[in-house]
């Protein structure tokens, strides 16, 4: 039902000539109107590149992208009137106050002075920034900046919002606050496409998602689909030495349907029911007199998703969205 799709891409390819990097290698996604869609992936997987193509900042080399019924290559001007973009790097003007930033965006979105001002004040209030509205940005905390950045994306009340790693680098409280904001926006009918490195965030917010790796989609579906392929809990057992690991492996192997992750003196099992598996594992290890140095139960991370999907950990040396080096924001 194409009429209800906010975003539809077909085989998007983007190659950055510098270093000949295929940032996107045939990506097709469908984002339903009114839903939160997640692009999950590590640094360098192509998430940001896709968002930049959809928000008309960058053009694709090939493939088709439709945003709210408009082809990005033919009518970028129409799309710009319908979208809001908030980034991982708070792109607000350092030299202006919060209020001035929002007024400026309003004016650039063709609002009258009064409209822009009214909307700016309204947004500052919604995001709990009223008191800080007339303060210089350098007095803002990281969380406040991110909220201002998000409110800047909302100035023109766009029906479609792109959020590029909205909570990366935020403390847990600020992250919770931002999640509430995003949920409120969706309740209000906004469609949101967000990128994230956090499985927990995708699970909490997204109705459906794709997992990107090196510019390709390696999994797609709902968060629970992903968890089913993955298991609910990771049981990480640390041994005193590698000999312990060697003795433990035959005892533990049949406890998980998934591949075990082994890292020197550490073994991780991804399982559906953590506590019972933990108890069984300890019973067996104790029976075989294998000493355990530590045991931790945790939720699967993006890393675990990658391990399960690709058999390897995420590349940690990835240059964030594979931009040509040096250009753009300093980091």
């Amino acid at each position: 039902m194409p009429a209800t799709l906010a975003v539809e891409t077909t085989d998007i390819v983007k190659v950055f000539p510098k270093g000949n990097v295929r940032a996107l290698d045939g990506v097709s996604i469908e984002v339903k109107e009114g839903a939160v869609f997640g692009l999950l992936g590590p640094n360098g997987s192509g998430k940001t590149t896709l968002v930049r193509i959809l928000s008309t900042i960058l053009s694709a080399d090939s493939g088709r992208a439709m945003v709210l019924g408009n082809d990005v290559s033919k009518h970028p001007d129409r799309i710009r009137r319908l979208i809001g973009l908030a980034g991982q790097y708070a792109t607000v003007d350092e030299n202006l106050t919060g209020l001035e930033n929002l007024k400026m965006i309003g004016r650039l979105c063709r609002m009258s002075r009064d409209e822009a001002r009214t909307r700016a004040i309204e947004l500052l209030e919604l995001f709990g920034l009223s008191d800080a509205g007339n303060r210089a940005l350098k007095t803002y905390s990281g969380g406040m900046r991110r909220r201002l950045d998000l409110s800047a994306a909302l100035v023109a009340k766009p029906p479609l919002l792109f959020l590029d790693e909205p909570t990366t680098g935020l403390d847990p409280q600020s992250r919770q606050d931002l999640w509430h904001v995003i949920e409120d926006l969706v309740d209000g009918g906004t469609t949101i496409l967000l990128t994230t490195q956090y499985l927990e965030e995708a699970d909490r917010l997204c109705e459906s998602l794709v997992v990107l790796d090196h510019g390709r989609i390696i999994a797609s579906g709902t968060p629970s689909d992903l968890k089913q392929t993955l298991g609910e809990t990771v049981v990480a057992i640390t041994f005193e030495d590698e000999a312990g690991v060697a003795k433990a492996l035959p005892l533990l192997r049949d406890l998980s349907d998934h591949e075990l992750f082994i890292d020197s003196d550490n073994v991780e099992l991804t399982v559906d029911h953590g506590p019972s598996v933990t108890a069984e594992a300890l019973r067996r290890l104790d029976g075989a007199q294998v000493a355990v140095a530590g045991i931790v139960l945790r939720e699967p991370s993006l890393d675990d998703v990658f391990l399960s999907l690709t058999g390897k950990r995420t590349d940690t040396d990835g240059d964030d969205d594979l931009e040509p080096a040096g250009k753009r924001r300093g980091r």
């Binding site: 792109t91 003007d93 609002m111 009918g189 924001r329």
Partner: protein, 274 residues
């Protein structure tokens, strides 16, 4: 942070009015934003004003004694138009730095996703730098008068001279905008800009008579825009001997030529950048 009632009222109010009207509105907004930035960093404003004042004082008191007079006018009178032109040239570097900064911080990214004029980001920057130059020229005029500068061309011509310099600075800003967009960061923008500026400002008639230079250098110095503009400003501010020697037309031709070439070049660079 409670419920955020968002779209509902449908899409952004798309206003009427010509797109040209909106382009000017956008340029105004970006200009305002850039001027606010200058006022928010008073230290930067102070030191960028201090620099031309230092130049006036140093050239006036260090070289005037040795040089004495040029074409029969006291060196301070010969010098001031040159310092003015040099200052607007150096001022254009801030266009490059400002744009490189916006690019680096991701602001240009945000602008590009807004339904605003593509040209306004650049035009708003060059216009703000034009306004700043007005301020700088006023201060330098005062300092010049204090150290003995006596423009004898009359107030009307003096104003025309200022307009010529401002337009020259504006044209250069469009060129330096290109450097700002091409540079990976502000520091590089700055080190890229000055080596381009130095030969033009110093191998010119701005500070000395080009006739004193070796022949090969004269060939360059006599046929480049800074000399043309410095001569035009002397004709207007000082009149007399200079009216017989030079006209303002080469300067006008250079300014028009630079604008016609540089502005579209930078706009194209902006569209293709990123």
């Amino acid at each position: 942070m409670t419920a955020i009632a968002l779209p509902g009222e449908a899409v952004r109010p798309t206003r009427g009015g010509s797109s040209l009207g909106w382009t000017f509105s956008n340029i105004g907004t970006i200009t305002w934003r850039n001027l606010m930035a200058i006022t928010r960093v008073p230290e930067a404003l102070f030191f960028s004003t201090l620099q031309p004042i230092m130049f006036v004082l140093l050239f006036r008191y260090v070289f005037a004694g040795a040089i004495g007079s040029i074409y029969g006018v006291p060196y301070v009178d010969y010098l001031m138009p040159g310092i003015f032109v040099q200052t607007v040239c150096f001022g254009a570097v801030s266009t490059a730095i400002g744009l490189a900064d916006d690019l680096q911080k991701g602001l240009i990214e945000r602008f590009r996703a807004l339904p605003m004029s593509r040209t306004a980001v650049l035009a708003g920057r060059t216009t703000a730098d034009l306004v700043r130059n007005v301020f700088v020229i006023i201060i330098m005029t005062v300092v010049g008068l204090l150290v003995g500068f006596r423009p004898s061309g009359g107030p009307a011509n003096y104003l025309v001279a200022c307009v010529v310099m401002l337009l020259f600075g504006f044209a250069l800003s469009w060129g330096f905008a290109y450097i700002g967009l091409a540079a990976p960061n502000t520091e590089t923008a700055q080190v890229m800009a000055f080596p381009i500026l130095f030969p033009f400002t110093f191998a010119s008639s701005a500070f000395v008579n080009t006739a004193s230079m070796p022949g090969w250098l004269q060939a360059f110095a006599n046929h480049q825009p800074v000399t043309a503009v410095a001569n035009a400003v002397r004709v207007l501010m000082l009149g007399g001997t200079f009216s017989d020697l030079y006209t303002v037309w080469p300067a006008i031709a250079w300014i028009a030529g630079l604008l016609i070439v540089l502005a579209p070049l930078s706009v194209r660079k902006f569209r293709n950048a990123l």
